[in-house]
């Protein structure tokens, strides 16, 4: 699919109300703090209804109270447009004028954002890795999106029930086990594919013989057993301590944890491999490639990874690549300064 137009009002420091894009590589060039990341973030929000990191309401230009991001996308089967409201409160997503939920938007449009921050996927808190998996699976399967949302709500209700003696804990436990097992099963199934693509990608980038392993921790065959084993800790802490909401992605190289033993470079290549898995699974799901957003390729100092990123962008039907200098072979170039975008430097 192709991002044809990006419109915005009051998104961070961006000033240009409307931008148009074509196929191939579009370079976004500017100095530090010019607004390159903001531009890619706006495109990602318009295409997915989500931010890679942080809260949507924080993207409203300082001093303003509301704004929107809107994109027009050309799919193989026609043109769709989205609009995402930025004001605090209930998230407002429109697809061709109709209010939809995030996972419904994911059926129409898709983007993958690769940023230098992705290294946090490896070194950051488990919630980031869970977020990677849950976000991806929710886009691949509406059933997962719904189950996961219900599961999260049931965990909250069950945690509240643990603190109130008359709250019918038993029924919440029953729902927790049922939904938790379903979420866990879907996760395990999807992880097989993620792991396979990520491992292949890692090998391609590094030329290394240390294989990348991606597996799930805290995935229980049956939550009922895990729950009864954790009863003591649960009672002491008053919260549900087992289940998919506590699971983590275990990333290994040659069998050893990248989180614990990996070098900085190994961590970056691992994170990049996870993003490529995302790109490839979303391509498969949509039967056309998502929009590839590559933020700050100039921050990538490793020659092998930089080569790979540029190859990935060149292969993609559409890639928007930002940096303090232009990538080679761009089909179009945009120059950004103080949030203002121009076609000439």
């Amino acid at each position: 699919m192709l991002l044809r137009a990006l419109s915005q009002l009051n998104f961070r420091n961006l000033l240009t109300p409307r931008l148009t894009f074509g196929p191939g590589v579009t370079a976004v060039v500017g100095r530090n703090a010019a607004g390159k990341s903001n531009l890619l973030e706006a495109a990602y929000l318009g295409l997915t209804g989500e931010l890679p990191y942080g809260k949507i309401s924080e993207t409203v230009r300082l001093g303003e109270t509301e704004g929107y991001v809107s994109v027009s996308v050309e799919r193989d089967d026609g043109i769709v447009s989205t609009q995402i409201g930025l004001a605090p409160g209930k998230k407002l997503i429109r697809l061709d004028g109709q209010t939809v939920r995030t996972f419904e938007l994911a059926k129409a449009t898709a983007a993958v954002l690769i940023t230098p921050e992705d290294a946090d996927l490896v070194h950051g808190a488990p919630a980031l890795r869970r977020g990677y998996l849950d976000t991806l699976l929710s886009k691949l399967s509406p059933r997962y999106a719904l189950l996961h949302r219900e599961y999260t709500r049931v965990v909250d209700q069950r945690n509240a029930a643990l603190k109130h003696p008359d709250a019918a804990l038993k029924v919440w436990t029953e729902r927790f086990i049922e939904l938790g097992n379903a979420v866990g099963a879907l996760r395990s199934r999807a992880l097989v594919k993620v792991a396979e693509i990520a491992a292949d990608t890692y090998a391609e980038i590094s030329g290394d013989d240390k294989p990348l392993g991606v597996s799930l921790t805290g995935a229980h065959e049956n939550l009922a057993d895990a729950l009864s084993e954790s009863e003591f800790e649960e009672r002491a802490r008053g919260v549900t301590v087992v289940g998919p909401h506590r699971g983590d992605l275990l990333l290994t190289l040659g069998g050893h944890s990248v989180q614990t033993y990996g070098s900085r470079g190994e961590a970056r290549t691992t994170a990049l491999s996870l993003r490529v898995a995302e790109y490839s699974l979303l391509s498969e799901k949509h039967r056309e490639a998502p929009v590839l957003l590559l933020d700050d390729f100039t921050a990538e100092l490793d020659a092998g990874r930089r080569e790979f990123l540029l190859r990935l962008a060149a292969r993609a039907p559409q890639a928007i690549v930002s940096g303090t200098e232009a990538p080679p072979h761009a089909a179009a170039q945009l120059f950004i300064s103080g949030g203002q975008v121009r076609a000439e430097p």
């Binding site: 509406p142 509240a160 029930a161 019918a168 919440w172």
Partner: protein, 196 residues
């Protein structure tokens, strides 16, 4: 500038109504202020009248202005089936379908520990007490997490005392082409299918 206390209080009271945020409350307050005195008096009287004459049906907890509601006192209705709903509005929705001629039971909510709602906060005890000659209970709570948990809770309870219990089927919108139905609805319709 500060609003006069009477206005602040009106905004605060309106803001406590469900679905009314601070902004809407303010808009409503100014709207009321701009209405003729008679209209405002009419509204105030309607509120007090409603509150004064309306109560919960002593059998099913539906809203009524008598001791028993219109459904419970209608001899034409099948007495042996009770349909359990969360709110009086759900009862009205089912009535509008014209498909149901049994009785109801209004829970006035659904289980939600986060909001301090356990079984004792719902009309579950009175429900159990009225099931002597009942042949079927239909659970028509919402498909929300809370509604499903409430249905499951009641199903277990009713199973213990051997009252036949069914859950209403959430299925496809009538007249819709299958290909335009979203996967989730379709999935639910398939898993809730029944023999014909």
């Amino acid at each position: 500038m500060r609003y006069p206390p009477a206005l602040t209080q009106l905004i605060r009271e309106l803001g406590r109504l469900p679905g009314i945020g601070p902004k809407s409350a303010q808009r409503l307050a100014f709207h009321l202020f701009n209405q003729p005195d008679d209209d405002v008096r009419g509204l105030a009287e309607a509120l007090l009248n409603a509150k004064g004459s309306l109560r919960q049906c002593e059998v099913c907890f539906n809203i009524t202005d008598e001791a028993r509601c219109a459904v419970c006192t209608d001899p034409q209705r099948t007495q042996a089936i009770v349909c359990v709903v969360e709110e009086p509005a759900d009862l009205l929705a089912i009535e509008r379908s014209g498909e149901y001629d049994g009785l109801y039971h209004v829970l006035h909510g659904a289980l939600s520990p986060m909001n301090g709602v356990g079984p004792d906060q719902l009309t579950i005890q009175p429900l159990l007490a009225r099931l002597k000659d009942v042949e079927e209970v239909i659970l028509a709570t919402a498909t929300t997490v809370e509604g499903e948990a409430t249905a499951m809770y009641l199903a277990r309870l009713l199973g213990e005392i051997k009252v036949p219990t069914s859950r209403i089927a959430y299925g496809l919108p009538v007249g819709g082409d299958l290909e335009y139905v979203d996967e989730v609805t379709l999935g639910r319709a398939i898993s809730n299918r029944r023999m014909v």
